[in-house]
Amino acid sequence: MRSQLEGSLAVAKAVALCRPEVISAYPISPQTHIVEALSDLVRTGELAPCEYLMVESEFGAMSAAIGASAAGARAYTATASQGLLYMAEALYNASGLGLPIVMTVANRAIGAPINIWNDHSDAMSQRDCGWIQLYAESNQHAVDLHVQAFRLAEELSLPVMVCMDGFVLTHAIEPVELPTQEQVDAFLPPFDPRQVLDPDDPVTIGAMVGPEAFAEVKYLMHAKQMQALDLIPDISGSFSQAFGRTSSGLVRTYRSADADTIVVALGSVLGTIEEVVDELRGEGERVGAVGITCFRPYPLEEIRAALQGARRVIVLEKAFAVGLGGIVGQNVRLALSGHAVSVYDTVAGLGGRPITRRTLRTLIADVLEERLEPDRLAFLDLDWKLVERELQRVSADPRSGPHAENILRDIGSVAASAHGGAR
C-alpha cells in the first residue's frame, strides 16, 4: 500500500512486517521515532509475539539482541552516532559469534563537538566490525532493504546494519509503498537458527579460542561476508519478483555507462547527485553517478565494472579518516587499480551541512576545469576564512581555548566572548 509516511515510521512498519521476536531499544536522536513506533506496534498487539526491552544503554541493547538471537529469536535494534560507538564491542561480538541480528543505523555525526545531524562518521567507523553494511538512498529503499536484510542475515548467519541518513531520511515524509504481511511472510521464512541455546541439545557458544584456531574462525567470518556478494544480488532479484519493484543490491548505476565523469556516493545524497547529473547531461556533459548500496562486503568487481569507462571519479563522502583522507575514496581506488583514472576525494555534508545542487555543480565544474587536483582531499563548502582565523588564533595564543566555541563566536552563534574577551 502506498502512503505518505515519515521514514522512521515506514521503517518501523517494515521491521514489524518481518516479525522480530525481540526488540531492544535505547533512545538516541535521530533513531528515536523508529523505536517509538515499534513500541506502539508491540503495545497495540499489532506486532505479536514480540518482547520489547527498554535497556539502559546501546551496549545493553546490542547485548540483549545477542542473547535473544543466540536463544533462537529474530532480534532487532536501532541506533545512531555515539550509540553505535558505545555498542562497538558488542558489534564485533555479534559478528564473531555469527548471530543474524538486524539493526538500523540512523546515520549521525560523531562528537566532539557534539552534533546530532547527519553524516556517515558513525557507520564508517564500524565498517570493519564484521557486519554487512547496506546504505539506503530513500525511504522506499530503506523499507525494502530492511525486508531483505533479515533474509540475508539469517541465510548467512551474520548481522546486517541498514544505514539510513538521520533526519534527511528518518524524519522526511515521503510516499512509500509498504509491502503486505502476506508478501513479507512469503519472502522471509521463519528464523531457523544455525546455532541455538537449548537445554535439549546443550552447546557452548563463545568459548575461548587460542592461536590454534582463531585465524580459521576469523577467516570464516570473511568467507561468509564474501558469500554475501553473490547472495545479495540473488535476494534483490527475488525481492523484485515478489514485490514488483527493483531494489538496489550491491551497486546502482545512474547514466554512468558512457560517462567520462562519475560521482560515487552512498545514501540519500544520491538523489541530489542524480538531479545534477540530469542537469549536466542536458548541458552536454557526460556525467553519471554510482551509488554503493553494500559497502561491506565491498563489491570490488561491481564497482570496477561500473567505473571502468570513466576518466574522472569524484568520491563524495560524508566521513573521512582523520590524518589520511577519504574512506570510500581509498576503497574506490582499490577497484580502480591498474586503470588510468583520476580520483577526487571530497568530504561533504559533515554534521548535517546541506549538500545542494549548486555546491555539487561547483564541485563537478572544479573537477572538469581542473581547479581541483586528483588524489588530494577536498572539503566541499569549507569556510576557509573561519579555519584560518582559528589557526592564527592558535599560533598567536598558547591558551586560545576550545576550537568549537571560538568558531561559533566568530560566526556569531555565541554572542558574548567568554574566553579571551580582551584579545
Binding site: 531492544s24 544503554s57 545493553g60 540483549a64 537445554p199 563463545g206
Partner: protein, 333 residues
C-alpha cells in the same frame, strides 16, 4: 529455610555431615543424580573457590529447574578455565559474550524464551566481582530494574584474578593487589571505597537477594533453590576465596570462607523485595586477625612494624556488619 535444625557438632565446625542427615536433606552435591553442570577437566587453579561456587550453584539450579537451564557467562576466570577451545566443561547450554554484558545477554535470552513460550526453561547469568560490580554494573542494574526473569550469580573473589589480581570495587580495604601494593604510608587497598552489590541489588526491590559462601553448602544450595522459586530478577552473591590472589593455602579455601562469615566481614543473609528476611548468625565469633593471618594479601599488616591500627579498622568494619545485620542478635542455632 525449611531445613530441620540439628545440633550435631562432631566436625568441630558446626557443619553437619551429610551422612548423618536424612537422605532428603542431603545436599545436591551428595546425590548420585547431581548434574555435574561444570564437569571435571576444567583448568581452574587448585583450591579455586569460584569453581566450587559455580558447581554448587549451577547443580542446585539445575536440580531446581529439572535441568531446564541456560547460562550467560561474563568474561573472567570462570569463562577462561571452563572453555579452552575446543573443550568445554559446561553440560548446559552456555553463552559467553563479553566482560560487561552478561546480565543483558541473560535478559535477551529470557526475552527470547518468553516470546517463544518456553516457560519451562530458566536463565542464569554469572560472573566474577569485576564483571558484576564494575564493568557489568550498568547492565546488571538495568536487568534488575526491568525485573527480567534472570537469576544472576556473582562469584566474589574480591579482585580481578583473571588479569593478575588487580583491585576491584569488591576488594576489601588494606588488601594487597597488583595495583594496591603495600607501598607508602597507607598499605594495600584504601579505606572508604568499594561497594556492596547485594545492598544495591536490594535497593532495586527485586524479588530475591542473598549472599552465601562456599563454606556452607547447604545454605548456598538452599538459596539457589529459593531463588528459583521466584520469577523476575534475583541476585545471589557468593564469596569464593582465591588461593592465587589471596595468597592462601589451596587446602584452606573452605575454612577461609567460613572465617569470612564468622568474623562478620562477609555477612550472610537473604532479602525479599528489598527487606532482609533472614541472616546466618555467627556461631563461633572469631577476630578479624584470625581471618587476615590466613592470607598473604594481608601479610603486610603483621610485618615490621605491625599495623594494629589497620587491623583495628578492619575489626570495626566487621563489628559494624554484626550490628547492622544482627549477626549475633539471635541465639546461635
Amino acid at each position: 529455610m525449611s531445613a530441620e535444625k540439628l545440633k550435631l557438632y562432631q566436625v568441630g565446625t558446626f557443619a553437619v555431615g551429610n551422612r548423618l542427615l536424612d537422605p532428603e536433606q542431603r545436599t545436591v552435591q551428595a546425590r548420585m543424580e547431581r548434574s555435574n553442570t561444570l564437569t571435571s577437566g576444567h583448568r581452574a587453579c587448585r583450591g579455586c573457590g569460584e569453581a566450587l561456587g559455580a558447581r554448587y550453584a549451577l547443580d542446585a539450579a539445575m536440580r531446581a529447574t529439572d535441568g531446564r537451564l541456560i547460562a550467560a557467562n561474563a568474561t573472567g576466570c570462570l569463562e577462561v578455565f571452563s572453555t579452552p577451545y575446543p573443550e568445554s566443561s559446561w553440560q548446559l547450554p552456555w553463552l559467553h559474550s563479553l566482560f560487561g554484558n552478561a546480565p543483558a545477554i541473560a535478559s535477551g535470552i529470557a526475552a527470547a524464551l518468553k516470546v517463544k513460550g518456553r516457560n519451562d526453561v530458566r536463565v542464569i547469568g554469572q560472573g566474577g566481582d569485576g564483571g558484576t560490580l564494575d564493568i557489568g554494573f550498568a547492565c546488571l542494574s538495568g536487568m534488575f530494574e526491568r525485573n527480567d526473569d534472570v537469576l544472576y550469580v556473582c562469584y566474589d573473589n574480591e579482585a580481578y584474578m583473571n588479569t593478575g589480581v588487580q583491585r576491584s570495587s569488591a576488594t576489601p580495604p588494606a588488601a594487597r593487589t597488583a595495583n594496591t601494593k603495600p607501598l607508602g604510608d597507607e598499605p594495600g587497598n584504601v579505606f572508604g571505597q568499594g561497594k556492596s552489590a547485594p545492598l544495591i541489588a536490594m535497593a532495586h526491590e527485586i524479588p530475591y537477594v542473598a549472599t552465601a559462601t562456599v563454606a556452607d553448602l547447604h545454605d548456598l544450595e538452599d538459596k539457589i533453590e529459593r531463588a528459583m522459586e521466584f520469577h523476575g530478577a534475583r541476585y545471589v552473591h557468593i564469596l569464593v576465596p582465591c588461593p592465587l590472589g589471596w595468597g592462601s593455602e589451596a587446602s584452606e579455601t573452605i575454612k577461609i570462607a567460613r572465617l569470612a562469615q564468622e568474623t562478620g566481614l562477609f555477612p550472610v543473609f537473604e532479602a525479599e523485595a528489598g527487606e532482609v528476611v533472614a541472616v546466618s548468625p555467627i556461631r563461633q565469633r572469631v577476630s578479624v586477625e584470625e581471618y587476615l593471618r590466613t592470607q598473604r594479601r594481608f601479610a603486610h599488616l603483621f610485618g615490621d612494624p605491625p599495623r594494629a591500627d589497620v587491623i583495628a579498622q578492619l575489626q570495626s568494619r566487621a563489628d559494624r556488619n554484626i550490628r547492622r545485620f544482627g549477626l549475633l542478635a539471635e541465639e546461635a542455632a
